[in-house]
């Protein structure tokens, strides 16, 4: 049984053991997964090829070599004559010999560097070379880039970097500018001047039009895209301490909405664009390495992620048919990139606390006096009800300066004694902590001629700001791909994650309620489970005495085989099979000293859960360029099966609790329950990408999906889409303006949503237990109403977009405008209780969405000081366009109204301020309203505030718009970046009811039993408060207290220092960086109390400051 840690100490030995454990595992993992790869031959000049060509140009011959090997040629066609016709027949000859044959006798110098073959006229070599330069090329994370090209601009003189990213080059006399380039990186130019050392960091190509992005069941050049697809760059997030990938996505892409969560290791909420359904899930589909991923993002080590692509519009998402209405997120993990094996390690360590909107609760004095006021205001209201016309006869408030009078009102002797003795506890302080957060990540990767591998291990440990809120994770990942033969490629991804959420966190909700005057028994074994004996006030630290173990394992495997059909040019067939197996074991023992164990002499609960998903994808791709025509066709057949089972084992009545949940047979009363489910999907998809002259683009997709979760007649549906693109800058009238890039896109298509899951069409029974005498009797009764006609929800949408770049990409970005309509909306519709059921799933109604998204990237400064700015903006409006068929249907019970947003708030409208005594005396108050109560607008002007007639739509829960600004500045070895993220309300958008935080409870029972918030003081007749009610408050009706949650947040900030290459070279280290970063450091908002993003939740968002380093060998 786990020991209860009272004084938290850092168990250093424990930590080292864990690290050793991880390292051992890693080693085993590395050895097993890379054996066999290392043996393969280096891609070199010894590679042999065969050719049989008649009457072809040199250019064509070189192309043929390129297409049948991994070699590619670099040459300047003004200096090398490649239009010359030749005949060549070679059989299994060395590449160098073959090239010599092609250029037989010509003055061409051939330099082979790995896969690159640089052809230069021999004359150039003979040119007078005067100056020798050297340097190193690295990527933003500091990894050296082997094989990068360094070329003197306008010449063929150049070099490629070696395995450590180093190069040296002898320059011709007139050399002025160097060009640095590497696949997937932005090409950089640098003037030579007098410098002899050039250390260059190449940035990843993020908005580059040549970038290849994942589009689902394949990839496509960004320049050929016709849909709205965004690639999120994680490079800039490298210095941030994010334990969850989604944290890194907040505010980085227009229309991608991430809402943080305040507990350690919990998954943030993700949505894309607007809400398209009333009740079905709005979670986007997650695809990991080409496989639909039903697991949690929390299982993925962010350091393993190469890129994240977001499919936002109908056309691009349509390849995922029935699951795509909420958008699709494609996660691609890393592969080995460099010939030299690279070992990289990074770590960060830091601390987190609550964001800057802390909760204030009443202190001892306020808490004690509130009871004086509670009872005083009872008398006051009784007097108000006599309709006085002046203050004559008004009850007098007891003298709150007399501590004996105040003490006498307290509810328990314990509180009286502590009040008089001046003892006080701030429970919020007692249960919160400044919490450590740490991450360690080790990876090993590389590439040989035919294989690439990436193996990594990570360990993360995070504590929350609530005591005992703990999270740790170990991940192991291996990604291996091998080209077995010219036509057959095998890949295997193995990923394992171990997450430990053990321990229940202290309760902030209970701390807010707890009496500051309770006896201080914190840490004592004889603590009071209910403070002052009051069941409304559980000891906020009760959970620390609960023994809980919550372990989640996830194993994700993808095996894939890809055949390039040799005799049909451009045709490939890929089969991939994935299996995800995840388990959760949540075991808890509640001792008799905790509320959950007190009533039953100790309670043990075990809750094992396991789930298995398997997917088979068969993909045929046909890729062909014929003249000006480019065709990329994809056919898919896919099948998915998911199965899960879980049990709940419960035992109570532990005479001897010492073995806890590990031996439940020691409990006198045992109950069990179990669940299981299965679901199946079948899918067919066909997609055609066609491009003409690189400027007229077309994508057409159709997907047919079947899902077991729908009724027998509605299992299948078709989801077609079509999109068109026009690269205007390729047209002759714009072509001359080379600094401009302009593409127009339009797409139209249908997407589905099956997000209500399995078995939703069934009526269900629930079982419980009754007892006859002392014999248990199983009780079974109907609990859920079914719907035989339940079917798909379909979203049809239109997206128009522009991608643009001006001034040589100094300014670039995109604009998207979209409109969508969802029909047959899946709704968990509330029913009148007369039916015997609270709600039923139904396809009713329709919802419209429209919105605009802007992305703008500017390179403000370039040179010694680099400064780039990213700005994104998104706005979405939704509207219920049909409900139950009527033109003006309204469903007050669900707060749904035709013509209004889904998130409409239907409530009493505040008229501003509180009723005053003056208004009472002069008879101006409405009937049954008294001073200290909110004024509400009498909508129907009948002099009474009541449910029928005085409620109206007073605002919306959803944001008005969102924006974020990222700035990255780099100077010499320093790089600084910060991200401001904002969600804005305005015009009554983004409102939430904050009354549980800012006002005394409407229920007097709780307002006199428990402690209250001190964010806004409560009204008394004399204190002039005009925004919070009195403490004895029994209004005839009441609405919520709505505040705007608008905020601007300094979400990410980081400062990075790159060690100078010279020093690193001496130390024989590839790369090393130090960084300091902060998250959620400051939030500007007018929202009261907790963080605006997490709202009234008792797990407010955390902020952190961390420091760390990255090192690569």
């Amino acid at each position: 049984m786990k020991k209860i840690i009272k004084d938290r100490e850092v168990p250093s030995g424990n930590f080292l053991q864990k690290m050793f454990f991880i390292m051992r595992l890693t080693l085993i993992f590395l050895i097993t997964s890379t054996l066999g790869l290392l043996a393969s031959e280096s891609y070199s000049q010894n590679t042999r090829i065969s050719l049989d060509l008649k009457s072809v140009t040199v250019k064509e011959a070189l192309k043929t070599i390129e297409s049948s090997s991994e070699f590619f040629f670099i040459y300047n066609n003004e200096l090398i004559d490649v239009d010359r016709k030749i005949d060549i027949t070679v059989k299994n000859e060395k590449i160098s010999d073959v090239i010599n044959k092609i250029f037989d006798g010509k003055a061409v110098e051939i330099t082979v560097v790995d896969r690159k073959i640089v052809l230069s006229p021999t004359a150039m070599i003979a040119q007078q070379l005067t100056k020798k330069i050297a340097g190193k090329v690295t990527d933003p994370s500091g990894l050296s880039i082997p094989g990068a090209s360094v070329v003197v601009k306008g010449t063929t003189t150049g070099a490629t970097t070696d395995n450590d990213g180093n190069f040296s080059l002898v320059l011709p006399n007139d050399a002025k500018i160097l060009t640095f380039s590497f696949v997937g990186m932005k090409t950089q130019e640098m003037s030579i001047g007098n410098k002899t050392t050039f250390n260059i960091t190449l940035l990843e190509e993020t908005i580059g039009i040549e970038e290849v992005v994942a589009i689902g069941y394949g990839t496509q050049k960004k320049s050929d895209l016709t849909g709205s697809v965004d690639r999120v760059s994680l490079g800039e997030k490298a210095s941030q301490t994010n334990t969850n990938l989604l944290q890194a996505l907040s505010g980085v892409s227009a229309g991608v909405n991430v809402q943080g969560s305040g507990l350690a290791g919990t998954e943030p909420n993700l949505s894309i664009r607007g809400q398209t359904s009333l009740s079905a899930s709005d979670r986007p589909l997650i695809v990991r390495d080409g496989i639909i991923y039903n697991g949690e993002i929390a299982d993925i080590n962010i350091n393993d992620v190469e890129s994240v692509d977001i499919l936002k519009d109908a056309s691009s998402a349509a390849v995922y048919g029935s699951r795509s209405a909420n958008g699709v997120m494609l996660i691609t993990t890393k592969k080995g990139k460099t010939d030299k094996p690279a070992v990289s390690f990074n770590m960060s360590y830091g601390f987190q606390d609550m964001t800057n909107n802390p909760m204030k609760v009443m202190n001892a004095d306020q808490y004690a006096v509130r009871l004086i006021d509670y009872y005083y205001q009872q008398n006051l209201y009784a007097w108000y009800k006599t309709k006085p016309t002046s203050a004559t006869g008004k009850p007098v408030r007891p003298d709150v300066t007399d501590r004996n009078i105040v003490a006498a009102r307290l509810r328990s002797q314990e509180e009286r004694d502590n009040y008089l003795a001046g003892n006080e506890i701030n429970w919020v302080d007692e249960i919160t902590q400044i919490a450590p957060i740490q991450n360690y990540n080790l990876s090993f990767s590389g590439r040989t001629d035919r294989s690439n591998y990436f193996v990594s291990a990570s360990y993360a440990n995070e504590e929350g700001i609530l005591k005992n809120d703990q999270f740790s994770r170990i991940t192991l990942n291996s990604n291996v791909e091998s080209k077995v033969t010219d036509w057959f490629t095998l890949g295997l991804i193995t990923s394992y994650s171990y997450r430990d959420y053990s321990g229940l966190e202290a309760s902030l909700g209970s701390a807010r309620a707890a009496s500051p005057l309770a006896n201080n028994k914190i840490g004592s074994p004889h603590y009071d489970m209910f403070l002052t004996g009051e069941s409304y006030m559980p000891y906020p630290l009760n959970n620390l005495y609960v023994d809980n173990s919550d372990i989640r394992n996830n194993l994700f495997l993808v095996g894939s085989g890809k055949i390039t059909v040799p005799w049909v040019k451009g045709l490939t067939y890929e089969l991939n099979y994935s299996n995800t197996y995840s388990t959760r074991n949540n075991n808890t023992f509640y001792p008799v000293t905790t509320p959950e164990g007190a009533g039953n002499k100790g309670q043990a609960i075990k809750n094992p859960y396991e789930e298995r998903n398997s997917i088979v994808n068969n993909i045929i791709t046909y890729l062909r360029t014929i003249g000006d025509h480019q065709i990329n066709a994809t056919l898919l057949y896919s099948r998915e099966n998911r199965h899960a089972q879980s049990s709940t084992l419960n035992a109570q009545g532990f005479g001897n609790p010492v073995l806890g949940y590990n031996n439940m047979a020691l409990g006198a009363v045992a109950t069990v329950a179990s669940t299981a489910w299965e679901e199946n999907s079948l899918s067919y998809m066909a997609r055609l990408n066609y491009s003409l002259k690189n400027r007229y683009l077309l994508t057409a997709t159709v997907r047919r999906d079947g899902f077991s979760g729908f009724g027998a007649n509605t299992k299948y549906a078709n989801f077609p889409s079509l999109s068109l693109g026009w690269v205007a800058s390729e047209e002759s009238f714009l072509r001359d303006m080379k600094s401009i890039y302009l593409k127009l896109r339009v797409s139209y298509g249908k997407n589905g949503n099956q997000g209500i899951g399995r078995y939703s069409s069934f009526s269900r029974m629930t079982s419980d237990a009754y007892v006859y005498g002392s014999t248990t009797a199983i009780a079974v009764y109907p609990s859920t109403l079914g719907n035989d006609d339940l079917g798909w929800e379909t979203t049809t949408s239109l997206n128009t977009g522009i991608d643009y770049a001006f001034f040589n990409h100094r300014i670039s970005g995109s604009i998207d405008v979209y409109k969508s309509e969802t029909t047959d909306v899946l709704v968990s519709r509330a029913l009148p209780m007369t039916t015997g059921y609270a709600n039923v799933w139904a396809n009713i109604g329709a919802i419209d969405n429209k919105g605009i998204e802007l992305a703008l990237k500017t390179i403000n400064l370039k040179g010694r000081l680099n400064w780039t700015t990213n700005f994104i903006f998104s706005l979405n409006r939704d509207k219920i366009s049909s409900l139950y068929g009527g033109a003006n249907d309204k469903d007050i019970g669900n707060s749904w109204f035709v013509g209004e947003p889904i998130s409409a708030i239907y409530d009493y409208k505040m008229a501003g301020g509180l009723w005053t005594e003056q208004e009472l005396y002069s008879g101006k108050t409405l009937a049954n309203w008294y001073p200290g109560q909110f004024k509400y607008v009498d909508q129907n002007k009948d002099g009474v505030i009541e449910a029928n007639g005085d409620r109206s739509i007073i605002g919306y829960n959803t944001p008005n718009y969102r924006f974020s600004i990222t700035n990255v500045l780099s100077y010499k070895n320093f790089s600084f970046s910060f991200l401001l993220n904002s969600i804005q309300g305005g015009d009554d958008y983004y409102l939430a009811d904050n009354s549980s935080v800012v006002n005394i409870d409407w229920i007097s029972d709780t307002s006199y039993r428990i402690n209250g918030s001190a964010v806004r003081p409560y009204w008394t007749p004399d204190n002039g408060v005009n925004n919070s009610t009195g403490i004895y408050n029994s209004p005839a009706v009441h609405g919520g207290i709505y505040e705007s949650r608008s905020f601007v947040r300094l979400q990410d900030i980081s400062l990075t220092y790159n060690f100078s290459p010279n020093l690193l070279k001496t130390l024989k280290i590839g790369n090393c960086q130090f960084f300091v970063s902060g998250k959620n450091l400051y939030t500007w908002t007018k929202w009261s109390g907790w963080d605006p993003e997490t709202g009234v939740s008792n797990s407010p968002l955390m902020r952190n400051i961390t420091t760390g380093f990255r090192i690569t060998l």
Partner: protein, 586 residues
Amino acid sequence: MINQYFQFNNHELKIKTMKKYSYIFRKKCLLFAIIPLLMFTSCTKDVLKETPLDFLSPENAYNTLPGIQQGIAGLHFSARNWFYGGNFIGTLTRGMGTDVAFFGEDPNDIQFLNNYKTYLTSENDRIWNLWKWNYQNIQRANVLIAGINTSDIALWENEAQKNSYLAEAMFFRAYAYRILVSFYGDVPLVSEVINSAKTDFVRAPKADIYKLMEEDLTFASANLPVPGKEAAPGRITQGAAWHMLSELYLTESKYQLAVDAASKVIDGYKYALMKTRFGTRLGHDVFGSGDVYMDLFGYGNQNLAENTEAIWVVQVEPLITGGGVVDGDRMFGPAYYRMGNTPDGFKAFRGELVNGAYTGYSDTLGRPVSWMRPTNYTAYDIWRSDWNNDIRNARHNIKRNYYYDSPGSIYDKKKIDFSLFPAGSRDLMRDTCQYIYPFFMKFADPLNHFTQPERSGGGFTHKDLYAIRLAETLLLRAEAYVRLNKLDEAAADINKIRNRANATPVLPAAVNLDYICDERTRELYGEEWRPITLRRMGKLIERTLRYNNNPKNPGANIQVYNNLLPIPQSQIDLNINAVMEQNPGY
């Protein structure tokens, strides 16, 4: 299988690819033969057929005898959990805010029915729960009735067996309507299974509801087992059905039928008032004395075969699956442990020694929280005529004196007397409404707490509860006799109870509806559903105004329109295809 797949794609490709496949198969390796097998195994439409793995549906739950028995247990389960245990609704049904009780902890609190005017709003969620729970049980009963009616005839030994199950389900349907129609007046009549969304309910006249109840209860009284032949303790018998029928006829002003139905219970079976001591309390008298009335409420005594007074006993059992709890002392007792110090400044109640610490709670009194403070009428006035002889007022049945448990204080073991405190140092209202007041011990289970030892049971007890007891049947018949102006017969029935209680017999001339109300209070306080009794007699408003001495809200501020509860607002809001009228005044 390959063909099937490629037909979907396109013809041309199919031929090409077929060629490719066969070529590869011949030339290259066996691998490609395996792949298609993997791809298309069980590629049939059946893949998408959905079969529930872990839940039953209305179609298959009730088509076996054990299934039907589970359905019956479902009705018992919800009736117990909703109306007898662990929630605040119990205070509403047992008479808070009527002539018998008010909320003791804070007589001005708005969580409980202290003030009709402010409490009874259509948005009150307790009002909504009372509505919701009854309609849920009606649907549950309807599904079960439909299941039995459509069951395979081969399930049953004979028609009588089948009818006995139908009868029990119908009993619970009538039980739900009994509550609805009394509290809300005209309510929607649902007598068939609801299979799809329905939002056009209208309120049916009370007469229609009564008609269904009559049919259900008449069927039940004919087809349920006779008392003593029920399958298990707590199951419904003919006696219970006749009792409910008698109450229904009284409500309908069919007084002779009410007499006849009550007589079926009183004379038709082996029921009899208990007159001699029995059961578990013998030899275990907590306060040094005891009697048969105390034994009626002893732990475990309600189910005993020798207890001839029990007609329907709601089942509770500690530490067993399905056992449940009831609020017991939590609901009815005073929060003595909050009173503070002795006059000389020591903690008034040291409590029990548990795990090395004193709890502050007495294991005799448990941990009550003074929800139901009996009105002075209930606590004092009705007892005055027979204060010393009525056993129901004996000190072991109503605890009136409390004693300090405060070693160190000179007041230790002395009777608590607030007049000994310095003048002005105590709040009289809290002292007498929350901390110390007469505690009807039939709700407590002294020295018998099974859970939460550190809180002396936490307010919960595990005693079985009488839902119907013969004493109430006698008082129903007496009420019918009063209505028929047969006062001799009425007095005779009442005196059966008074004689057992050793109280002075009442003279026929003194018997009237108010007298019956008083006797019901003496005999049945906390057992009967007081608001139903008072509405039936038309005395809710009158007697609440007269006897409810809530110190902050005299008469609970009851208004004439408060005779019925408001229809829950969500019911009105969600019933979008028909207008559901609100009760007048709301």
